[in-house]
């Protein structure tokens, strides 16, 4: 870092502001600036992975407890709900304050 030498960073920043080269005034807070189809692909991956996680967890619990297919079915539904939750977190604006 050279910033402490002679206020270089500050001079650079003011020069950039003069030239209108300010790096992103507002945007670039989302998780990933992507093309629309990229977001669509992410949405699909989120839902499918939640379904896989739910079904897998239910299957493991079934094998462990020997409770037939019931926990698998239940956790498949829960996986669907978790997928929608993931999707909601993906599209909702970031709520972190910092």
């Amino acid at each position: 870092m050279v910033d402490q030498r002679d206020g270089f960073e500050q001079r650079l920043r003011s020069a950039e502001a003069r030239q209108g080269l300010d790096p992103d005034p507002a945007g670039d807070r989302g998780p990933s600036p992507q093309a629309p189809w990229g977001i669509g692909l992410r949405a699909g991956v989120e839902i499918v992975s939640a379904l896989i996680a739910g079904a897998g967890l239910g299957w493991l619990l079934d094998r462990w407890l020997g409770t037939g297919p019931w926990l698998l079915l239940l956790f498949f539904l829960i996986g669907g709900a978790a997928g929608v939750l993931n999707l909601y977190r993906l599209v909702s604006p970031p709520r972190r304050p910092n």
Partner: protein, 251 residues
């Protein structure tokens, strides 16, 4: 070659082949492992050689090293905050390893180790274990509050807790499947269109002219794949940062 049997064989490029002769066969050392070692060597060489001169006005190599460092550092600090700086080496190693794998795979005859779900799931599982361990170390038992938001009515707990739990468990799966699917899809597309070039090229007089079309598509696809290589490494790193943020701050 893929087109010798006049068929499209897009998946044989992902087969693991032992290298280093009988020794490699005995210990299961495949070209995938060789490329991982090569990637680690290249990244280490970039960083070590890049910072050797320590010039005030950086050369090309030093610029590349500093750019990658500052890129990941701004990512970590921007997402996790200043207390996240101590996780910088972890995120940086992940980012450079994934990026090197994605880019190495674009060279002819090279192998893309990030196109194997075993590799990406291994990386994602590491992220999952590390973030969970960080959350436990920082918050202890309060970590379980992550699965039940404050202020929600208690009778909703039987619904909310499993859903949040499954959502949490789905993180490594989505993280790994995204990288794996992107790399596999890109390389299958490249191979399919390359096979078109060969098949159409043998089609008599008009062949070479028609074959120019898939060749043009492939040129575009290679450029697109370079973009995807950077983008997926970036997405992997930034999701790791978001998970670390959740682990450090618990919402």
């Amino acid at each position: 070659m893929a087109a010798e049997g006049k068929t499209i064989d897009a998946l044989s490029q992902f087969e693991l082949i032992p290298v280093l002769g009988p020794v490699g066969r005995a210990v299961g050392f495949t070209q995938s492992n060789a490329h991982m070692l090569l990637a680690i060597g290249l990244v280490s060489a970039l960083m070590l050689l890049g910072i050797r001169r320590r010039a005030l006005i950086p050369g090309r190599l030093q610029s590349a090293a500093e750019m990658s460092y500052e890129f990941v550092e701004s990512l970590v600090v921007g997402q996790v905050g200043h207390e996240g700086r101590r996780y910088f080496p972890f995120v940086f190693a992940l980012f450079m390893f994934v990026l090197a794998g994605n880019l190495l795979g674009l060279f002819p005859y090279a192998f893309t180790y990030t196109s194997h779900i075993a590799v990406t799931l291994g990386l994602a599982a590491t992220v999952f274990v590390v973030t969970t361990a960080v959350a436990f170390a920082l918050h202890g038992r309060k970590f379980f509050g992550y699965f039940f938001p404050e202020g929600a009515p208690l009778w909703l707990a039987p619904i909310i807790v499993p859903v949040e739990l499954v959502s949490y468990l789905s993180r490594p799966i989505s993280l790994s499947v995204r990288l794996f699917a992107n790399m596999v899809a890109g390389h299958v597309l490249l191979k399919v269109f390359a096979t078109f070039v060969v098949l159409l090229g043998t089609l008599g007089v008009v062949g070479p002219f028609v074959a120019a079309l898939p060749l043009a598509v492939n040129v575009l696809l290679v450029g697109f794949e370079i973009l995807v290589a950077f983008l997926q490494a970036y997405v992997f790193a930034i999701l790791t940062c978001i998970y670390l943020h959740d682990a450090v701050h618990l919402h």
